[in-house]
Amino acid sequence: MPTPDEAGFTAFVRTHQRALERAAWLLTHDRHAAEDLVQTALLGTARQWPRIHTDAYAYTRRSLYHAAVSGWRRRRVREQPIGAHDAAAPQPDQSLAMTLTVALEQLTPKQRAVVVLRHYEDLTEVQTSEVLGIRPGTVKSVNRQAMARLRQLLPDLATELGLPALAHPAVPKESR
């Protein structure tokens, strides 16, 4: 017999699962990694459930994005063989969304998190900074780096999307 708390948590998961899946998918583009992220975030939420008095979804989302950005997950990226970085440019017959996803994979976890929060979840710089626990100024600069990287990776698409042109278009070769 589930307790009221457990029933509340179950209802919460049912309501927000899809939103979390979408965000995790954009952040990882990997089924297993996405599942990891969502489970980790929800597990944290379940643990804190009796103590979360504000917005459980905001809490979970913060955990999810933090986990996506946190250092150890980058290992997954680093472990890709050199071949993956030398891979040919995405095939033109792929859908634009797919092409964009491939480019997103080239961003750092933090850049990706900022892009997803700013341009998918449509949060403001301040809201994004609250989710990630960084300063709004950092959000701004990380977003600028991310846009520059995308523009560099997808020059055609960038124009089509109207990605903002850079005041300083010279992008370091290995943009961090």
Partner: protein
């Protein structure tokens, strides 16, 4: 079209995850001590989440190849115990084996293994021919398999390895050396490995105990003694049927 439109299109392709809120709740409030992580905002939340995550990772990364045996910090089975499996808070405990079908090598050539469908009792060792402690462990696995006979499947999975190198390290075992008392050998290619949770695995060998329902009920990293391997076999639910040793 905007960046938002494109991202939304892609987001709709997100796979549906098989989440079990009851299982999550159980893991959060079952035999685990409540997390003491801060409930505040900002990085503290991340630290809490990261700590959960870290426990997972540390559980599989404690040792590097070449380092002698040590115990998983969240031991799933009492390492030297040959009796009961210990309750554990490592996510490996409730995580199923990854979905991957592995081709057999060496003595198991011509067969294949679907990890997700594997039902124990089984002891599964991830290893590489380039890892000396892993090679040293093969003989003990063979002994383990003989000791437990038909009650236990002893399985090796070569990772980050070439099939040919792995087969060479297995010492020219002939195909069709199968059946109770023999070790089954498979290889997991890098491409598939990257899709699995095991891609974070940094220490080999890593040995898992899998119970009759296919759940991972124990894991140890690093080179293990025969007693420790037996502990895992027992945790998986196998009985030492034979007393024969090699």
């Amino acid at each position: 079209m905007t960046l938002h439109d494109l991202l939304s299109t892609e987001a709709e392709r997100a796979p549906r995850l098989d989440l079990d809120s009851r299982d999550l709740w159980g893991r959060a409030h079952g035999d685990l001590a409540p997390s003491r992580s801060a409930t505040g905002r900002g990085w503290w939340v991340g630290a809490g989440a990261a700590a959960v995550v870290l426990a997972t990772v540390i559980a599989v990364m404690t040792l590097r190849p070449g380092t002698p045996s040590a115990v998983d910090p969240a031991p799933l089975a009492e390492p030297s115990s040959t009796t009961t499996p210990a309750a554990s808070d490592s996510p490996l405990d409730t995580t199923r084996l990854p979905e991957a079908t592995l081709p057999g090598i060496a003595g198991s050539s011509g067969t294949s293994l679907s990890l997700a469908r594997l039902r124990g009792p089984a002891v599964v060792t991830l290893w590489g021919s380039w890892c000396e402690p892993c090679r040293d462990q093969q003989q003990r696995l063979s002994t383990l398999s003989q000791q437990y006979g038909p009650t236990l499947r002893v399985i090796t999975v070569a990772v980050r390895d070439q099939r040919s190198s792995a087969e060479r390290a297995l010492g020219g075992e002939r195909p069709a050396s199968t059946g109770p008392g023999t070790v089954e050998h498979y290889v997991l290619d890098d491409r598939t490995l990257r899709r699995t949770a095991w891609s974070d695995l940094q220490a080999l060998p890593a040995t898992l105990a899998v119970d009759a329902e296919g759940r991972i009920v124990g894991s140890l990293t690093g080179e293990q003694t025969l007693a420790e391997l037996s502990g895992l076999a027992d945790a998986a639910g196998a009985n030492a049927a034979n007393t024969a040793t090699s």
